[in-house]
């Protein structure tokens, strides 16, 4: 079902607030993986505010949909999204990265409410998502599992081990996104280690692939609706995104994979997001 205009407006507003909060947390915490958090903010928004069957009051509800952030270094974006969705007070974000805090760079599922799986090391999340999807089959449960994989992360061989398994077991209850922001720490993905033709790779691994603009809620919704209706196997949504999306001086600059914000820079980041509104 296409998004209604008011849904689209609402999602845009939430995504803006999440981006603004990511900027603030980056400033408070002394630094964060802000570029990749901003690139996937729209995917997180549409999942947590439109599609995931979850209840923030019952983070351990057995029948909830599962979400795995395979690119675990995007934890700052995930934490902000969870706070906005009501899993814990936004005030807790003040402690992001602080010593002994329940919230840090790579989220710990034993400490942060709403985090289904601990991730951080690259190439681990998709396998765990496959496990969750298989468990739903064994337990005859209706939940769906969603996973965001990084494009740089897709250099890891384990991603492709998981890809093979998801196809082999025809996991139609598994939907993955590739946050295709084209950048990794050392530069452009195609310069560091070519991924293209990425869609063809996933297709060859037996997945059904949808390529969308990862900042267009209508396109994202269309792909997710396709995945939910699809009964044949796993779906990969390659979401073309802009690293640092929304903060003009960060956009498409690999240097903003990780960084801190303060003073004039912080003011510029806030102003840029204001213009986005």
């Amino acid at each position: 079902m296409p998004l209604r205009p008011e849904e689209r407006t609402r999602l845009k507003q939430i995504a803006l607030e999440i981006r603004q909060q990511i900027v603030e947390v980056t400033a408070w915490s002394g630094g964060a993986h802000i570029g990749g958090a901003l690139s996937m903010a729209d995917i997180l928004t549409i999942l947590y505010f439109n599609y995931l069957n979850i209840d923030p009051a019952r983070p351990d509800w057995p029948d909830r949909d599962r979400f795995v952030l395979s690119k675990g270094h995007g934890g700052v974006g995930h934490a902000v999204t969870l706070a906005h969705r009501g899993y814990f007070p936004k005030e807790d974000l003040r402690e992001f990265n602080a010593t002994g805090s329940k919230l840090g760079m790579h989220l710990d599922s034993s400490k942060a409410a709403g985090v289904d799986v601990s991730t951080g090391s690259m190439g681990h999340g998709l396998s765990q998502a496959v496990g969750l999807a298989l468990a739903a089959r064994v337990l005859k449960k209706p939940w769906r599992t969603y996973c965001i994989v990084g494009d740089g992360e897709s250099n890891e061989g384990s991603i492709w081990e998981a890809a093979m398994a998801a196809h082999h077991y025809k996991l139609a209850n598994l939907t993955a996104f590739c946050d295709r922001n084209h950048m990794m720490i050392d530069g452009l993905t195609e310069d560091v280690m070519s991924l293209e033709p990425l869609a063809a790779k996933w297709t060859a691994f037996g997945w059904q692939v949808r390529s969308v603009n990862g900042h267009d809620f209508d396109e994202l919704a269309g792909a997710i609706e396709f995945a939910r209706a699809n009964g044949d196997g796993p779906v990969m949504i390659i979401a073309d995104t802009v690293k640092g999306k929304g903060v003009d001086f960060m956009e498409n600059d690999p240097a903003w994979h990780y960084g801190g914000l303060g003073g004039e820079l912080l003011a510029k980041a806030r102003a840029s997001l204001e213009r986005m509104a």
Binding site: P62, R66, V68, S109, S110, D116, V117, S118, G120, S121, G123, H124, L126, S127, Q128, A129, V130, G131, L132, A133, L134, A135, A136, V138, L139, K141, G157, S158, E161, A162, M164, A165, H168, Y169
Partner: protein
């Protein structure tokens, strides 16, 4: 002779005819009848690790992931997160090394209820050589927080360990051999508790602490020494490497003042090191030696030949005990000057 426990019946005949791996497969299948939450996972080693027995009985609960051990452990973590109890079977060299970080970060960090059945431990893969020997696994996995590490002495103890691990609310690593190891126990009629060493032979002159297939040889050596030389050798089957039975080690220090460890594993970081930690921290004087695979890559050969070469069979244990008994050592009753 047979015993029944939880609906399972074993006979000595079975234990003589079946390998540890076959017994594991049968026990897991029996457990699967009572525990619908158990799932079996392997990586193209369902036949080799005998988990296939479980898969034949419960095809909807058995998953083969092909030759992809990283994914194997990642998937197990995801399944455990959803409340299932995955039993993951692969060779111990792959479980501890190929999948190392997935075991550590996905399973142990999240303290998940995943049971690892690591087969072909130590040099038991014999002719396969160092690529398939597993002489570092205990050293590696012992360092993972939340993980219980068990090395059963024979098939009967493997059966007990597989059942007992269901009572542990977290990850367990059970290292078994390739099979064909001689039987140590006459029956299942002995107390097996995770974390408690089994005293196989009482003794006051020296204590041998060992695990896995070496236990059989240590018991043989103790019998020979008692009967032929009147030497009283205490043999502790330290089937649980972590948490280690500190009390049993401290009693051995106090009672015998001489300890030798034997293991089918490198002398770096395994059982011997775990025991040494306790002995050193005790502050008590004790002649102590570690025996096992030296700090080198193990060679090809028949498993029994390798155990002989590395002096962890009966002959080697006799030789080492002789050395340690002969060591000049202050054996007075005054502990004050040693602290």
């Amino acid at each position: 002779m047979s015993t029944t426990e939880g609906g399972l019946t074993w006979t000595v005949y079975d234990a003589d005819k079946l390998t540890q791996r076959e017994i594991y497969g049968l026990v897991l299948t029996e457990l699967g009848e009572r525990h619908p939450e158990i799932v079996g996972l392997s990586a193209d080693l369902a036949k080799s690790t005998k988990i296939g027995t479980f898969g034949e009985r419960f095809p909807e609960r058995f998953f083969n992931f092909g030759i992809a051990e990283q994914n194997l452990f990642g998937v197990a973590a995801g399944m455990a997160k959803a409340g299932l109890v995955p039993f993951v079977s692969t060779f111990s060299s792959f479980a501890s090394m190929r999948a190392c970080e997935f075991l550590r970060t996905d399973v142990c960090y999240q303290n998940l209820n995943v049971k690892v059945i690591a087969t072909h431990g130590g040099t038991s893969f014999g002719s396969a050589g160092a690529t398939h020997h597993s002489t570092e696994d205990l050293s590696i996995v012992r360092a993972f927080a939340n993980l219980t590490v068990i090395v059963p002495a024979d098939g009967i103890e493997a059966a007990k360990a597989v059942r007992a691990c269901m009572e542990v609310p977290g990850p367990v690593y059970i290292r078994i051999g390739r099979g064909f190891e001689p039987r140590v126990y006459d029956s299942e009629d002995y107390p097996f508790e995770i974390g408690n060493a089994v005293e196989m032979c009482p003794g006051t002159d020296i204590t041998v602490i060992c695990c896995g297939p070496v236990v059989y040889h240590a018991v043989q050596a103790a019998k020979i020494l008692r009967e032929e030389q009147g030497v009283s050798v205490r043999v502790l089957n330290m089937h649980t490497i972590k948490p280690i039975d500190e009390a049993a080690i401290l009693r051995a220090v106090a009672d015998t003042r001489r300890i030798v460890t034997f293991e089918d594993h490198s002398v770096v970081g395994g059982l011997g090191t775990a025991v040494a930690d306790v002995v050193a921290a005790s502050g008590k004087g004790c002649a102590f030696e570690k025996a096992g695979i030296p700090d080198e890559f193990s060679m090809h050969g028949y498993p029994e030949d390798l155990m002989h070469h590395y002096k962890i069979d009966t002959d080697g244990i006799l030789e080492k005990i002789g050395e340690v008994l002969g060591r000049d050592f202050e054996a007075d009753e005054d502990w004050e000057d040693e602290v």
